[in-house]
């Protein structure tokens, strides 16, 4: 393949995978080139469902199949589905479900489906996602190679339905293996649904990849308050259907959910001879080592990073669609900025970027450009750390502080200047600034904005004999606009009356 081939706008784009990245790409391709005669888009999904919101799986699992539960996935409810019924057809996108791809033929530019059917492409996009990592635990696999009874992963709608059905039949304790953000979301959702939940994690604290030790300690405490017990520094060693043995102890349970991370699904690419590292290697054009093939989402490795989050996957979809539809042939993806969040009822955890080196240690301590702000309130379930280097946020972790997340995310992602008062960014000005009273208010402070009346004006009018709200309004117009200062004017009246 020469570079010249890909310069021509492809007429047939085939997307392998029908997850969130694939769906977004197909949609953006069609938006960029509405004419199907100029650009045909085919999406080949292995699952039986139309594209759905994978993020809702953990909530759906806990919903125990309750009819109409807003989070219920599996294509049954329009809510979890990314597009309404018939949308793909109406937008001239060929969506094929239950169509797993078995192989790529780069010579003939075709993909081969599991049934042997071949589908030709001018440009192929791999959006195959990631597969759950199965930790090495004795007895965790069935003799057939699948998972043993009582063991589940939560990567797709089928897995979610199996887990939900199993939980309905076996309402006993549940062990979650792996305390990343997905594991904890599942744990919280199941705990909220009344299950007895234990999370087993090999490291010293949960979400150790993006939280520091202080945040980890607050998180464990917060999880306990939600009914989730955390066992850290422990590895699962074996499973017998009733007991999950750890290297130090055991958990008696009927259900094990594996959330020990995931691995890019790169077998198709590897088998076809494409360059594969952790994932399918792509450049800033999101092109693989074959210029007629791109990769996006959880299966792709860009600048050494496999993200596993929806935001960068969608950013990649937008860039690739712009390139392939011709809307912006020069579009580039220059990397994402990881924002990881755990969202459960009563628990908000957000981590972004990377912490500067320990400010108390050798690297950061002497560095005047590095400023680390921490607020630690374990009893309130709150923790905040914001690391600022040269006036920009480089990393942050927030537990129990949902309100500043939007601001911090944008400060970080857009490299915006950080206010000097980081505490007020975290807490909000309302908490940081104390309200004024009539006596502490300076004379020049404006009481009635609508009419520009200051405390001093009111004091002067009082001295001239205006001794109640109506009289003050008459002489100063205070309170005659929006009326919002009525209480303040009353307050000043009372203060002046008391002062005699």
């Amino acid at each position: 393949m020469s570079a010249a081939v890909v310069r021509q706008a492809p007429r047939r784009v085939v997307i392998v995978g029908a997850g969130m990245a694939a769906a977004r790409l197909a949609e953006e391709l069609r938006a960029g080139e509405p004419d199907p005669a100029r650009l045909s888009v085919t999406v080949l999904g292995a699952e039986a469902e139309e594209p759905y919101n994978r993020i809702m799986l953990s909530h759906a699992a806990a919903a125990s199949g309750a009819a109409g539960a807003p989070g219920a996935a599996g294509g049954a409810t329009p809510v979890a589905r990314l597009k309404p019924a018939g949308w793909w057809d109406r937008h001239d996108i060929t969506l094929r479900t239950s169509a797993p791809v078995a192989a790529l033929d780069r010579v003939t530019c075709e993909v081969e489906l599991a049934g042997g059917e071949r589908v030709g492409y001018d440009h192929l996009v791999l959006a195959t996602g990631a597969a759950p990592r199965i930790p090495p635990v004795d007895g965790i696999r069935s003799p057939g190679g699948g998972l043993a009874p009582g063991v589940f992963t939560l990567r797709d709608a089928a897995g979610q339905r199996e887990l939900t059905a199993h939980l309905a039949a076996h309402p006993g304790p549940v062990a979650i293996v792996g305390a990343g953000f997905i594991g904890l979301e599942v744990a919280c959702a199941l705990a909220a649904a009344g299950h007895d939940v234990v999370v087993v994690h090999p490291r010293a604290w949960p979400m150790n990849g993006c939280l520091d030790a202080g945040a980890g300690a607050v998180l464990v405490r917060s999880l306990a308050a939600l009914g989730v017990r955390t066992v850290t520094g422990a590895r699962a060693t074996s499973w017998d259907g009733a007991t999950l043995r750890l290297d130090d102890g055991e958990v008696r349970c009927r259900t094990v959910v594996l959330t020990a991370g995931s691995a890019p699904r790169a077998d198709l690419a590897r088998d076809a001879g494409l360059e594969v590292g952790h994932g399918v290697v792509v450049d800033d054009e999101l092109t693989t080592s074959d210029p007629a093939i791109s990769a996006i989402g959880d299966c792709a490795q860009h600048r050494g990073v496999v993200s596993g989050l929806v935001a960068p996957a969608w950013d990649q979809a937008v860039v690739l669609a712009a390139r392939l539809s011709g809307a912006d042939p020069d579009a580039r993806y220059s990397g994402g900025t990881p924002v990881t969040r755990l969202k459960a009822h009563g628990l908000d955890v957000v981590a972004l970027g990377e912490f500067a080196e320990d400010v108390y240690g050798s690297a950061g301590g002497d560095d005047e450009a590095t400023e680390v702000t921490t607020l630690c309130e374990p009893a309130r379930g709150r923790y905040a750390r914001v690391d600022v280097v040269a006036g920009r946020v480089v990393g942050a972790a927030l537990i129990g502080h949902p309100e500043p997340v939007g601001v911090l995310t944008q400060l970080y992602e857009n490299a915006l200047p950080v206010p000097d008062d980081v505490v007020s960014v975290i807490l909000g000005r309302a908490e940081a600034v104390a309200a004024q009273t009539p006596s502490t208010m300076p004379a020049a402070a404006v009481v009635c904005r609508c009419n520009g009346v200051s405390k001093g004006d009111l004091v002067a009018a009082w001295a001239d004999g205006a001794r109640d709200r109506d009289a003050l309004a008459e002489s100063t117009r205070a309170g005659t606009g929006c009326g919002g200062c009525s209480a303040a004017v009353e307050g000043i009246c009372g203060w002046l009356a008391a002062a005699g």
Binding site: A311, V339, C450, T480, G483
Partner: protein, 707 residues
């Protein structure tokens, strides 16, 4: 403030008039005083409940102001010099003839304003089409309400700012304001938000901690401090949450709307975390906003969503409002008692001004000029053949941008507007105005635009004229004369009559009595969307409360629209959502900040009036730029320093006002100031495809120290 008084008069009492400024149209009476300054007394009226802001209190100061124009001016030797009316009008007629001899009927263009009475707005449209025979008329309301109007027409089939009386808001426990800062722009309106504010149910989406947002926070409500230009994402993210949290009103969707599934196809992609990332508004706050609206709705306690210019003045403003309307529809708010969606109209007659034919594409009664039936109806009222009515013209910016260009108009009559200050990319517009052979400006002070004119015609002010206006809730109000205008000023109706006479183009079609004009307007509007045909001055003077449509089918008026059906062909409201576009002007290394513009409490629009009122000028004497202190510091600036804000189009000089509550990617500039302090020297004339609204609210800028 005074609550609703039992039995209080909703009435228009003889002697009442209404404030000259915003669309709230606070009632007041005006009394002449010795020494030339008129005294203003607030009156009790449902919209203002006896309140006035300081603009209203001081409105009388302009009546006897030394800057008042009391004689026509004509440009001679490069200078504007006083002359008599004959000389001035002869010069105007010469200019019109010259322009039309060279360029045909469209050699003359007309520009109107949302401050004109209904009668004058109507007459100006008719004068343009019949006396001038030109299709080129548009007005400054294009830069005010056009996006909200386009979106409301698309979704509801009808555009009336508030489809319910403003007092309906008073009991509401939840009100979401998107891009609205009424605490500064129409302060007495805030009385109607008192219940929501006290209940912690006031939700304000604004890039700044505006006075209104502060009011929300003070009551325990919510401030959604979004990144400028991300309003559509915010609305879609809220819509997403309405659906996934089960707050959607499915029965209402089924019975009263169409297009939800397609709307959801867009909104499904606006996951809360993505919305948060794009808007900078935390998921927790988005969730709170949705919960407040849904809970108040479910409790029957009043739940409303309102937009204003912050959401609408974008190159995708129609889409933004469409997304907000979609949010309101998903919640089941529009067309029901105690819930609703509306937009807060800006200019005093922003509502009536857009209904009676001074828009490029419209005829009276909110009829489309391209609709053959509409043309036939209006032609019959005008006693002409339909073919004599020209077709649609150009939108405001496009019209101004064509002035003096090859094939463009070479003469313009301009009324009630000051585009040198208020137009986007203002210097470009000023250059076009200078390129005209004849610019005629009617005003009562020498505005920045009048200063460029070849002829300036002095006209009366609000308290010196009779007429009607239509306020933000579609209620027709009487404006009454309390003061005798200066001897040299002439009413616009007289001017147009006189021009038609001198041009020999049917002066009898242009009566000078506003009441006669209204009666004709009422007939012209009969059967139109904005039907005024059952309204007359006697009814208004008798104190009747008349909201349009008020015609043969609805002689008592229509305070609340859409209760039974929407004004669409199938009676259902339509979800109209487009994919949010990327910013009209992205930031880059040279222009790393976003500038947004807005209004101040002390000033009105281009400031031509309020900058001349001593008390208001003293309160806000000069241009400033609001900026976070770290952003100022990075530019080497401190509070009070002289700064320059630079965009790709121009630069503005402004005093730095540091504010810890600003976003660190955003500057705020008030747009009321003149000369080098014109915020619109920066703004972007990228136009909305549906409404032709420019992108006033976001442009990429940098901040630097003034030289």
């Amino acid at each position: 403030m005074t609550p609703d008084r039992p039995g209080a008069q909703d009435a228009e009492r003889p002697g009442h008039t209404h404030c000259p400024y915003c669309a709230l149209q606070c009632a007041m009476s005006v009394t002449p005083t010795t020494g030339g300054v008129a005294e203003v007394t607030p009156e009790w009226f449902p919209t203002n409940r006896g309140g006035l802001c300081r603009k209203g209190w001081t409105a009388g100061d302009l009546l006897g102001h030394p800057d008042r124009l009391t004689t026509p001016l004509i440009r001679r030797d490069g200078r504007l010099q006083p002359c008599d009316w004959d000389t001035a009008l002869d010069r105007v007629v010469d200019g019109i003839r010259r322009a039309q001899a060279a360029g045909g009927p469209d050699g003359v263009a007309v520009f109107g304003g949302g401050g004109l009475t209904n009668e004058k707005a109507y007459q100006l449209g008719k004068f343009t089409r019949l006396a001038l025979g030109s299709r080129l008329i548009d007005y400054n309301g294009r830069w005010c309400m056009s996006s909200a109007a386009a979106a409301a027409n698309r979704s509801f089939g009808l555009d009336r700012g508030l489809p319910f009386p403003v007092t309906d808001l008073s009991g509401a426990r939840a009100v979401l304001l998107i891009g609205a800062n009424p605490a500064d722009t129409m302060p007495p309106f805030l009385q109607h938000l008192g219940t929501a504010a006290a209940a912690g149910g006031l939700i304000v989406a604004d890039p700044r901690l505006s006075a209104t947002a502060r009011r929300a926070l003070d009551g325990g409500g919510v401030h959604l401090r979004l990144r400028p230009g991300t309003d559509a994402a915010l609305a879609l993210g809220l819509l997403h949450l309405v659906v996934v949290t089960g707050a959607v009103d499915t029965r209402y969707l089924a019975a009263r709307t169409t297009g939800f599934e397609d709307a959801w196809a867009h909104a499904a992609a606006w996951l809360p975390e993505r919305t948060e990332r794009v808007t900078g508004v935390s998921v927790a706050l988005l969730e709170r906003a949705v919960r407040l609206l849904a809970d108040a709705r479910d409790a029957g306690a009043g739940s409303y969503i309102l937009t204003a210019r912050g959401a609408e003045q974008h190159a995708d403003g129609t889409s933004v409002v469409g997304a907000v309307i979609a949010l309101a529809l998903a919640l089941g708010l529009p067309g029901r008692p105690r819930t609703g969606y509306g937009t807060l109209t800006g200019q005093g007659n922003g509502q009536g001004g857009r209904e009676h034919g001074q828009k490029a594409d419209q005829l009276p009664g909110y009829r489309m000029i391209t609709d053959p039936d509409a043309r036939t109806h209006v032609a019959a009222v005008w006693d002409v053949e339909p073919e004599q009515i020209p077709g649609p013209g150009l939108s405001a910016f496009e019209l101004l941008d064509s002035l003096g260009q090859p094939g463009g108009p070479t003469a313009m009559l301009l009324h009630a507007s000051n585009p040198v200050v208020s137009a986007p990319d203002a210097d470009r517009v000023a250059e076009r105005l200078r390129a005209l052979d004849t610019l005629v400006v009617a005003d009562f002070v020498l505005s920045e635009t009048a200063a460029l004119a070849d002829v300036v015609l002095p006209v009366p002010q609000w308290a010196e004229e009779e007429g009607t206006l239509t306020n933000l809730e579609g209620r027709v109000l009487r404006r009454r004369r309390s003061i005798t205008p200066p001897a040299g000023a002439r009413d616009e109706l007289w001017i147009w009559h006189e021009l038609a006479r001198r041009l020999d183009r049917g002066p009898e079609r242009f009566p000078t009595d506003p009441r006669a004009v209204f009666d004709e307007l009422a007939r012209a509007s009969a059967g139109g969307k904005a039907d005024y045909s059952a309204v007359d001055w006697d009814r208004l003077d008798a104190g009747e409360v008349l909201h349009w449509p008020c015609g043969a089918d609805s002689p008592a008026g229509t305070p609340r629209l859409f209760l039974d059906r929407f004004a669409t062909p199938d009676g259902r409201a339509r979800f109209m959502i487009d994919a949010p576009r990327t910013p009209a002007e992205p930031t880059d290394a040279a222009f790393p900040l976003l500038a947004t513009t807005g209004r101040l409490l002390a000033h009105y629009q281009s400031g031509a009036q309020t900058r001349r009122v001593g008390e208001l000028a003293a309160a806000e004497p000069r241009m400033w730029v609001q900026v976070h202190p770290v952003v100022a510091r990075a530019a080497g600036l401190t509070d009070g320093a002289a700064a320059r804000v630079v965009s790709r189009r121009g630069s503005v000089e402004a005093e730095v006002r540091c504010d810890e509550d600003m976003r660190t990617d955003t500057l705020f500039l008030p747009f009321h100031f003149a000369g080098t302090g014109r915020a619109n020297l920066l703004t972007l004339p990228e136009l909305d495809p549906h409404s032709r609204m420019p992108e006033f609210k976001v442009c990429a800028v940098r901040l630097e120290a003034a030289a």
